[in-house]
Symmetry: C3
Subunit: 100 residues, 3 copies
């Protein structure tokens, strides 16, 4: 498999943020994203109050390292203090690097 490494960013956050978030991702250079509906529980922002079970989305973006850094920095600055949001990153192999 003639594969190239890219970053896989996964964001889990409040469903109400979907439209805002998607605009941010496009503005920051993501060439695509995948959204699935989810539910779950976690701590909320800096206040650490329980979410309770809530309506969440899970968003995945495959992109290069620089775009991943830019997205992570933006989300941290813009949303972390006020919204329930987690983000995690790993490396993945892709076949068509020009798509990401």
């Amino acid at each position: 498999m003639n594969a190239t490494t890219r970053r896989l960013l996964t964001i889990v956050t409040e469903a109400a943020l979907e439209q805002l978030l998607v605009k941010d991702l496009e503005a920051l250079g993501a060439s695509g994203y995948t959204v699935t509906d989810a539910r779950g529980k976690g701590s909320r922002g800096t206040r650490n109050a329980a979410w309770g079970e809530s309506s969440n989305i899970r968003v995945e973006i495959v992109c290069d390292a620089a775009t991943a850094e830019a997205i992570a920095a933006h989300l941290q600055a813009r949303y972390y203090a006020h919204y329930a949001m987690i983000l995690f990153v790993s490396d993945v192999a892709v076949l068509r690097p020009e798509k990401f």
Copy 2:
């Protein structure tokens, strides 16, 4: 990106187990989890009978290595023989390690 490594556990199992499983995860120290509805096919427990297409859930937990070990050991002891369940683990980078 000032990132720290955590474990990402992904569990795919029967939808009927959701409430039990979520209680187990909290008791074992997970600070959060994400559930999505899924469908699929696989072998079932030790009996290896086909699931057929069925109503599943996909559960993700980001946690430290010790919690991941505890969850994996518990699920294996408690569910593997009797339920359709798979679990896989990878490393992910996170920005706010205190949340996990």
Copy 3:
């Protein structure tokens, strides 16, 4: 954790392909798969026309390296030119390697 490494393949594609794709996966030796409904945006095939927000599926397969290669090669040959499809691969640790 007495874990073994397997490949995790994630495919995101058009929802209409689900039945075809699942047959391909079984024929190519996947012992299971997980499907979730998703939506998203990306470039399409070689034409690079926008998908727009569309009805997608996200399919995961945990399998050995040879099966992963076979699936990736087949999907690339059979679908990439004509369908919106991305595929990414990573390594995961599993507890019961005989299941994958």
